[in-house]
Amino acid sequence: MLIDSGSPGAVGTIGITLTINGERRELQVAPWTTLLDLLRERLDLTGTKKGCDHGQCGACTVLVNGTRINSCLTLAVMKDGAEITTVEGLAGLGQREGKNSLHPIQEAFVEHDAFQCGYCTPGQLCSSVGLMNEGHAKTRDEIREAMSGNICRCGAYTNIVDAIEEVMHQGDAR
């Protein structure tokens, strides 16, 4: 076994290493801690939102090794060794490349009024960056389909697609 939390009846915490928004962290976590709860409750990274907590709304979307997933449906221990980017780290991605500003997708969301209440926005932003990293969606229909895992109850979808299209066409996805 690579890892064993202990014998039945003697449940223990497990040591893991995560690089979160560029910062390496050694953490002791209980196995039932979701990545979402670790980020919000332990690390005070409350930008990532808990909406449905069942993988149906996308508010908890983060990037794991550059790939977007629902952080509510994964256990932190399973991501041992991974690089996590949350909405708090998106601007940092820009800064590491010598910029001192928001991530282009964040600027585009502001420019296009791609939100109203803002609760789904961190998930929409991370999902947008994930979509661009994947590189499969090109047309407006394809963007809409590829963003269907992020629900916006204010109905800002049209403007969200506008924002993504603009950044994609700038070719400045990161």
Partner: protein, 337 residues
């Protein structure tokens, strides 16, 4: 969620041994269904065996076909160049399901083993023979819009929710498993079960077995295929009815026909008689309607899902028309041609 132990084996043998040593343990890979079920206390494993580090993440050439490792994600599979080129039906079906985030996490093996989305299976306050054998079926006579019209029993009318599996059934894939008794291969049609009087068992996996790979045969259906999925909203919803259709045509004559339905039964639904009826016939609407009639002859409506029989009939005909014409359903432009 209940408290549990956690182990992370490095080899398939270690994983099989860990499961054999603890009947209350469960494998976890993508976790997209299991963690959800644990949050509802439908699943309460005493131990999770994290199999994500096992070397089962590759797609390889195998006997003229492809062998898909059980840990290949749904997204990696759908976008793999060999799958897109040689098994476009499979790629299309995967992209018709779930969301990008879920497809990035969910594994191939886990897709086969996901549980029904029957509302009552998820609601621990209600009786459910699948969740708690012998308690009864709340869906019969209850809210059963999404439930089975074929192959159900008086104990369970749940449907299998997968899109990928409908395509794998049509392609006649093989499930490779490893277990305490060694390795064996299960034809896809024999992998999932009908509910009968034992609805708690979804599959014919033996206790302690693990899926290690899915084999796709050499026959690929690259021109005349479609995956047509009908649902309550245009994306990110389970099928009310779906159709995987694959044909080999000689002019307008059908040489080979494969047809599998999703959303209508406890497993991807195939009807050998209907496929045999199509073979040798001219690919016309009349032929397709005869096949649809044959498949749905045994269909039985529940109290609120009778519409699915007519929906299935039309979906079968339209799916076969799309396949015959070589115009597969787009999974981004949702207009049905």
């Amino acid at each position: 969620m209940n408290r549990f132990d956690y182990v992370r084996p490095g080899t398939v043998a270690e994983a099989v041994q860990a499961l054999g040593a603890d009947p209350a343990a469960r494998f976890i890979a993508g976790g997209t269904n299991l963690i959800d079920l644990m949050k509802y206390d439908v699943e309460k494993p005493g131990k999770l065996i994290d199999i994500t580090r096992l070397p089962l993440g590759e797609i390889e050439e195998s006997d003229g076909g492809l062998r898909i490792g059980a840990l290949v994600t749904n997204a990696a599979l759908a976008y793999d160049a060999r799958i897109k080129e040689r098994y476009p039906l499979l790629s299309s079906a995967i992209l018709a399901g779930a969301s990008a985030q879920l497809r990035n996490a969910a594994s191939t093996g886990g897709n086969l083993l996901q549980r029904t989305r029957c509302y009552y299976f998820y609601d621990t306050a209600t009786p459910c023979n699948k969740r708690e054998p012998g308690t009864g079926c709340s869906a019969i006579g209850g809210v059963n819009r999404i439930h089975a019209i074929l192959g159900a029993s008086d104990q369970c009318i749940a449907t299998h929710p997968s899109d990928m599996c409908v395509a794998l059934a049509a392609l006649e894939a093989t499930v490779q498993v490893s277990g305490p008794q060694g390795d064996r291969a299960i034809p896809f049609a024999e992998f999932h079960r009908l509910p009968g009087d034992e609805p708690s068992r979804d599959t014919n996996l033996a206790p302690g077995e693990i899926i290690v790979a899915i084999d796709l045969p050499a026959q690929t259906f690259t021109t005349h295929y479609t995956y047509l999925k009908l649902r309550d909203r245009l994306s990110y919803a389970f099928a009310l009815v779906s159709v995987a259709a694959a044909l080999e045509l000689d002019g307008q004559t059908i040489r080979t026909a494969r047809l599998a339905l999703g959303g209508v039964a406890h497993k991807p639904w195939r009807n050998g008689e209907a496929e045999a009826l199509l073979q040798g016939q001219t690919a016309t609407r009349k032929t397709f309607e005869a096949a649809a009639d044959l498949i749905l002859r045994e269909a039985k409506p529940q109290s609120t899902n009778g519409f699915k029989i007519e929906l299935a009939r039309r979906a079968i005909v339209r799916g076969l028309e799309q396949a015959a014409a070589g115009t597969p359903q787009s999974q981004s432009d949702k207009r049905i041609q």
